[in-house]
């Protein structure tokens, strides 16, 4: 079997000292800041997160981990952030963390040097940002764009509508994908450029999250808001992989805690005079969920380790996203079922995880999407 495991690739996995430390720090931080009572309290909150926690995260320097030192960051690879996002996922934290990180990486990738100097120090120190990529076509292919931008005397004028823009209410700037000269392009849109009423909150399945539709019609930004168009396609591909890696981390974290939550119930709930966790139909299924989680976690840390490597990184990330989608979805689905009648109530936390799993799978590709990409890469 070893040969099969090695098919095409060495199954590399590793952990840097920084990551090892971050696991502990992030574990304590997220557990303290996001107990389930707090998560539930924020469900009805307009912003959906605690600004004080966001401020602390900025103080801890986590937003600058992937930003080079010259822009006020630490200059490490994106993989270093995986332990943090994994722990955030365990505790269902909802912060503009992933969107801000990915926006900064996109600017690092193909922003002009002027844009990098203008925005990166702010993003590394607590200014939130988001990406406006999805459209009505519901396509995971980020190059399937119908929104447009064109140069006019007033500046760059945008048109069209974007959907699923996470944490838009908090973002100070947006990376927006458009067609420009009939080719994909990315534009940096400051919040101030949006017309009043351009943002409308969407009703999404994950109650812990906030998402908005963005009306770009009439938006006019400075002519130099365009990012380097020659690198746009490459940057969109990068955004997909970077987001997939961090979403996988969030899901692996979620899978761990929803399994833990269900185990607690199976160890205390009695039916027919026995703890229900002693019944094999439940016990064995929990083992399958747990094994799926372990597989996904191994793939996650392999993807974190290989992320910056051409080719191997893409294979590892797609495998990690596919495995995380399935492991989290299965664990959370069974979590509802195994809580019985209580599982059908809003009070049972299992639904929060299941909704989160659907949300995370919907963004940047489900398992089948990534497997099809992998088939083209590997077969």
């Amino acid at each position: 079997m070893s040969a099969l495991i090695n098919a095409g690739l060495t199954p590399s996995i590793g952990l840097s000292e920084e990551q090892a430390q971050l696991i502990d720090i992030a574990q304590n931080f997220c557990r303290d800041k996001s107990p389930i009572d707090q998560v539930r309290k924020l469900l009805d909150d307009d912003t959906g997160f605690d600004p004080a926690v966001w401020h602390e995260i900025a103080e801890l320097g986590w937003l600058g981990i992937g930003v080079p030192e010259e822009f006020g960051g630490i200059g490490l690879g994106l993989g270093e952030l995986v332990p943090i996002v994994e722990q955030m996922g365990r505790h269902l934290m909802a912060l503009p963390f992933v969107s801000t990180i990915v926006a900064a990486q996109a600017i690092l990738h193909s922003g002009t040097s002027q844009q990098q100097q203008k925005y990166l120090p702010a993003l590394a120190s607590g200014t939130a940002a988001s990406l406006a990529l999805c459209e009505e076509n519901a396509d995971w292919d980020l190059e399937n764009i119908s929104c447009t931008a064109s140069q006019t005397d007033q500046g760059l004028v945008l048109s069209g509508r974007k959907f699923l823009v996470t944490d838009a209410h908090q973002a100070e700037l947006f990376i927006v994908s458009v067609r420009y000269d009939d080719k994909p392009a990315l534009v940096i849109v400051p919040r101030a450029a949006l017309a009043e009423g351009a943002m409308s909150r969407e009703k999404i399945i994950d109650d812990t999250r906030r998402s908005y539709a963005l009306d770009l019609n009439g938006v006019c930004v400075d002519a130099d808001s365009l990012m380097e168009q020659a690198k746009a396609a490459e940057t969109l591909a990068y955004i997909e992989l970077a987001s997939s890696l961090l979403l996988a981390a969030e899901m692996v974290g979620g899978a761990y805690n929803v399994i833990d939550y269900t185990l607690d119930y199976l160890k205390t709930r009695k039916q027919f005079g026995k703890l229900i966790g002693s019944y094999q139909s439940l016990k064995h299924t929990m083992v399958d969920a747990h094994m799926g989680y372990e597989r996904a976690r191994s793939h996650l840390y392999s993807a974190a380790y290989l992320f910056d490597q051409q080719g191997e990184g893409e294979v590892a990330v797609r495998m990690a996203k596919a495995e995380a989608n399935e492991a989290f979805s299965f664990a959370a689905d069974r979590a509802i079922q195994f809580h019985g009648g209580f599982g059908f109530t809003y009070d049972c936390d299992a639904q929060l995880y299941r909704r989160r799993a659907i949300w995370c799978s919907a963004l940047h590709g489900d398992a089948r999407y990534h497997r099809r990409k992998l088939a083209d890469l590997m077969l």
């Binding site: 079997m1 040969a3 185990l263 002693s278 016990k283 372990e294 191994s298 497997r371 077969l379």
Partner: protein
Amino acid sequence: MTAVDQKQLQEFKQQAEAWFAENTPREVDFMLPLTFMEVGTDQQFEFLRAWQNKVYEAGYLGAHWPKEFGGGGLDRAFQDVATKAMAAERTPIMLNAIGLNWTGPLLLDRGSEEEKKKYIKGILSAEEIWCQGFSEPDHGSDLGNAQTRAVREGDEYVINGSKIWTTQGNYADYMILLARTNPQAESKYKGLSFFLSPMKGQGIETVPIRKLTGEYGFTQTFFDNARIPASCLMGQEGEGWLIAMQTLEYERGARSGQAGGHVMMSADPADILELARHAQINGKPAIEDPAIREELVALMTEARALGLNSRRDKIQPLAQDRPMSLALGSKLASTDFYQRLNAFAIAMQGTRAAYYVGDPQAHDNGVWQRGYLNSFSATIGGGTSQIQRNIIGEHVLGLPKG
């Protein structure tokens, strides 16, 4: 752990690769067993015994076991590269698997000096073949209920009862035997003792079992007033369950110390990809079918996770949330995977899925069909997958016993 001389290791690796490239038998005119559980003919047995002996004499088996008992006295890393070279070259398997993987490490970990001196070298050289006597006809997964009796009479134990699924039982010189010395013990577990029992002697008879493939490889072993020296008792009376559980940990991959060398040949990705390229389904190469492609990728992803899991298990901060999880899960994960892999390989063959070993129409001479049927030996033996789920559920997830 002491630092390994990387230069020395590199040289050893090159030597091993060159040796296996040169010495691996290529043109064998009979079917070689894919696993140590499929040794069904004398011809296969003698061939594999000679091959293991040759590998041992060349220094590529037990390279990390202590020199004083017949090992190579090197660091574990040396045997690992030799084992890898063996698997990469797809050499015939190491025959004496029970000795190499279970009895040997058990003796090295808890055997007496005398036992180590007496048995280790013969295990490595394949001069003394070992088998395992745990399961009984009426007590497969429920090992603790073993009923084979061992009664002390002077300097001997008298054994009565029967064991089943004795791999290579008809060839074995010794058996690791779990037998009941005290039927009145306060618990069924405490009544068990562990023996290093000879297999050749009066009152011990083996009867071959015909497997689902139609081949042989296992026996049922009958003890009828068989007398074995009292010195065959390992440890103390009543420690049988404890020692048997430790043995199973080697078998399940939860403990290391195995002599190395591969004891199972398994599907190579190149093989299954090759099959997908030339097997036809709906009039087209299977590899062009979108559903087949997706499934292939899913299996390759899963295979990769098996390797990643064992590597992650060595990275402490990534393996501490649920201690023992990855080690105890590896048997279940890999045997279950291998079974589905073979089943999938059959499913991409169109009507040719119906053929079996020996028919010219069979893909790869039926290796997938035979491999699938044989894969149940691993999902049933050594504790069924269902028992594995109980173990993981109870010991890793902390769920209550049923």
